[in-house]
């Protein structure tokens, strides 16, 4: 009888002993729960560029007067305009090109020097248009040569002075201009850059003559974003 009771107690004792073990295990697992959570928030700021004209109107106009010998042309109004560029790229390349109404759209700029250059205007009213050679004879007359008034009818060049500034970004070489082939490139660091062009009031003498007929002379400057890093 006693033996029977003892044999009944054995499994109970073992069962309780096992349940004790499982309680201990649960507590240990509880200690392993994390007491810290981490969030790695990431926001991507995309590339941004905004180019606007510094002049309210995109077209800048001036009348011109000439002397009685029709040898010197002078603008009557100040012609200053340019671009404001806001860029968030660490480095960006901008391309400044110049065109006019001549056939085949040759580059209308030449003589780059420390930001300044010369710009060729062509007669938009000329009957039959203006030949490309009228422009290229000014911009590239050939090595050792200078343009002859007779070789550039209906094309008149003016010197253009550039004024460059930069703010809101790195201060070391933030806006650098250079001549590339037939246009100007600007290496710009992030920030706000302003480049303004002032057209000299006096036309380049060798480009103005009686070969230039009356009418509306035009030139266009275009600034485009080429690449960024």
């Amino acid at each position: 009888m006693k033996i029977a009771k003892i044999t009944k107690l054995l499994p109970i004792a073992l069962a309780l002993a096992l349940s004790f073990t499982s309680v201990q295990a649960a507590v240990v697992e509880g200690d392993d729960e994390s007491t810290q959570a981490t969030l790695n928030y990431q926001l991507t700021l995309n590339d941004y560029i905004k180019i606007t004209s510094t002049h309210p109107a995109t077209t800048l106009t001036s009348a011109g007067t000439f002397d009685e010998n029709y040898a010197n042309l002078t603008l009557t109004d100040s012609m200053t305009s340019g671009f404001t560029i806001i860029s968030n790229a660490e480095k960006r390349t901008l391309k400044l090109t110049a065109t006019n109404t001549a056939a085949s759209s040759p580059s209308a700029m030449y003589g780059f020097n420390n930001g300044s250059f010369y710009l060729v205007f062509t007669n938009a009213s000329a009957t039959g248009g203006v030949a490309a050679s009228s422009v290229t004879n000014i911009t590239a007359p050939g090595e050792g040569k200078t343009t002859e008034p007779s070789l550039n009818p209906n094309a008149i060049a003016f010197k253009v002075t550039a004024d460059e500034s930069h703010s809101g970004g790195p201060t070391e070489t933030p806006f650098v201009s250079k001549w590339v082939s037939d246009h100007i490139e600007y290496d710009m660091k992030n920030g706000t850059a302003v480049v303004e062009f002032t057209i000299n009031s006096k036309a380049e003498q060798t480009t103005f003559s009686t070969h230039d007929t009356l009418g509306n002379y035009q030139a266009t400057l275009t600034l485009t974003d080429e690449s960024h890093t």
Binding site: S34, L39, T44, G168, N190
Partner: protein, 203 residues
């Protein structure tokens, strides 16, 4: 003979049982269960949106958000939410300001400490730092904006009376904090901030 052997065996089993009886009784009785209950503290991240975009034209950010379950049966334990960003030189500084904003730092061009401090005060001159309002809310918790030597600007989270768990929610985004975004000054790229939710007993 067999009975004798069985009797001997039983005597041995009883001896073993008697020798461990006290231990079994303590282990299996209510007493053992009570004494083994230990403090349970846990922070569990439930959901999160940790990646988003900034509109470069106005600096507005898409919403980042997360939720946590907080657990504690220890009256001494509470929770702290603190944050870090990496500045120039690799140093980490607090990314919260006292106006409820979380600052993000450019990871490719880390900001200077001055830029971070300016951003915390809403001053210009904070290139490559952008701040956004952080909204903390929850259930069964109390949130206090505070500072400490260990965590700098931070949020202390305590469970409500007689609660052993609560829920914390965070959301970040929308308009940039005052003067912290300027197109052109803040370089394109990735901006990062790390937020920690930790159970502690002392700030």
């Amino acid at each position: 003979m067999k009975k004798l052997n069985l009797l001997k065996s039983l005597i041995m089993v009883m001896a073993v049982l008697l020798s461990t009886e006290k231990a079994f009784c303590e282990a299996t009785a209510v007493q053992a269960l009570y004494t083994l209950v230990q403090p349970t503290v846990a922070v569990e991240k439930m959901t999160s949106v940790e990646v988003g975009n900034i509109n470069p034209s106005n600096g507005n950010a898409s919403e980042l958000k997360s939720s946590f379950n907080l657990q504690s049966n220890d009256e001494q334990t509470f929770f702290v939410v603190y944050s870090k960003i990496t500045i120039l030189g690799g140093t980490q500084v607090s990314a919260f300001d006292l106006n409820g904003n979380l600052l993000f730092a450019n990871t490719q061009i880390p900001p200077t400490e001055t830029a971070v401090n300016n951003a915390k005060q809403g001053l210009i001159g904070n290139a490559n730092v952008i701040g956004y309002k952080i909204n903390l809310s929850g259930e069964g918790i109390t949130i206090t904006n505070t500072t400490s030597a260990n965590y700098n600007e931070c949020y202390k989270i305590t469970l409500a009376n007689s609660e052993t768990s609560g829920k914390l929610e965070q959301s970040i985004g929308g308009k940039p904090a005052t003067n912290t975004y300027q197109a052109g000054e803040d370089v394109a790229g990735n901006y990062s901030a790390t937020v920690y939710v930790t159970a502690i007993t002392e700030l």
